[in-house]
């Protein structure tokens, strides 16, 4: 499993570049990851990221887009604006959690 140096810390990632240990994530790491995929983080992005991380911790799996909109309170439309084209993958990448597995 490759290890990347992000924001001065060693971070374990998988072959695609997703973090494999969400405990190694810090806000600095989040900023760095977002930069890599061309996303400039606003306060609204942070709300999504915090929800994704909290929900992942509580549920043991990454929330789907629907969960982020119904429980996290950020509408689907907005999620597509914040993380264009592939919001589910992008938000989990930046939040340092695995890609969501659910179908919906």
């Amino acid at each position: 499993m490759p290890v990347a140096t992000i924001a001065g810390a060693d971070v374990a990632i998988d072959a695609e570049g997703f973090m494999t240990d969400s405990e190694q994530w810090t806000e600095e790491v989040g900023v760095f990851l977002a930069e890599q995929i061309g996303v400039e983080l606003s306060e609204r992005h942070w709300e999504v990221i915090r929800f994704v991380r909290e929900d992942y911790k509580a549920q043991g799996e990454t929330p789907t887009l629907r969960r982020v909109s119904t429980i996290g309170g950020v509408p689907t439309k907005e999620l597509f604006q914040l993380f264009p084209k592939k919001p589910a993958k992008k938000m989990s990448y930046v939040a340092g959690v695995p890609k969501p597995k659910g179908c919906v």
Binding site: M1, V3, A4, Q36, L65, P84
Partner: protein
């Protein structure tokens, strides 16, 4: 497990830079509860992957987008010999499907199973697809047959279009009939 250090990090390819013209068109032709989900689930997944997605609703599939009807789609196992209770290796007798009240009961059971998976009900699913940028179209011939106009459909529906219009808009697309 290797611990080779890689800096800068491997960055996932989200395909943003690829000039992809991938496009998917679903034809939703059925209005039974079990048969409306395949196109809705897949359309939603396609949108989440950044793929241009259209759904063309025709015949009984029109019920999925009709305000008055979309909440009340039904399920029956009549004619479906594969029907078995969840997780059980037994088939439900076909004759039972026709008993009064059986469709109502089967519908209730299926709705519960869908809800247990945290999958939205049909109206919410359609709204979610529209919000994600999915393009919804109603079939002209079906609308004429059923006496429906654009106002009868939910907000996300863009227009009532003819078969020819659909053939034009689906040029270069992967077309999936459900």
């Amino acid at each position: 497990m290797t611990t080779a250090k890689e800096a800068p990090a491997v960055i996932p390819d989200f395909g943003d830079d690829d000039a992809t013209d991938r496009k998917i068109c679903f034809i939703a032709s059925k209005g039974t509860l079990d048969m409306v989900y395949p196109s809705l689930i897949m359309a939603n997944a396609a949108l989440g992957e950044g793929v241009e997605t259209h759904i063309f609703f025709t015949f009984w599939g029109m019920d999925i987008i009709t305000k008055e009807l979309q909440e009340d789609l039904q399920f029956t196992w009549m004619g479906n010999t594969a029907m078995h209770p969840p997780g059980k290796k037994m088939h439900m007798p076909q004759g039972m499907a026709g008993l009064p009240g059986m469709t109502k009961m089967a519908t209730k059971m299926m709705k519960k199973q869908i809800a247990d998976l945290d999958v939205p009900v049909v109206p919410e699913m359609v709204q979610m697809i529209a919000d994600a940028g999915g393009q919804l179209w109603a079939c002209k011939m079906s609308a004429d047959m059923m006496g429906l106009e654009l106002d009868d459909f939910v907000d996300g529906v863009q227009d009532i279009i003819s078969a020819t219009d659909f053939i034009e808009l689906s040029e270069g697309a992967q077309v999936i009939f459900t």
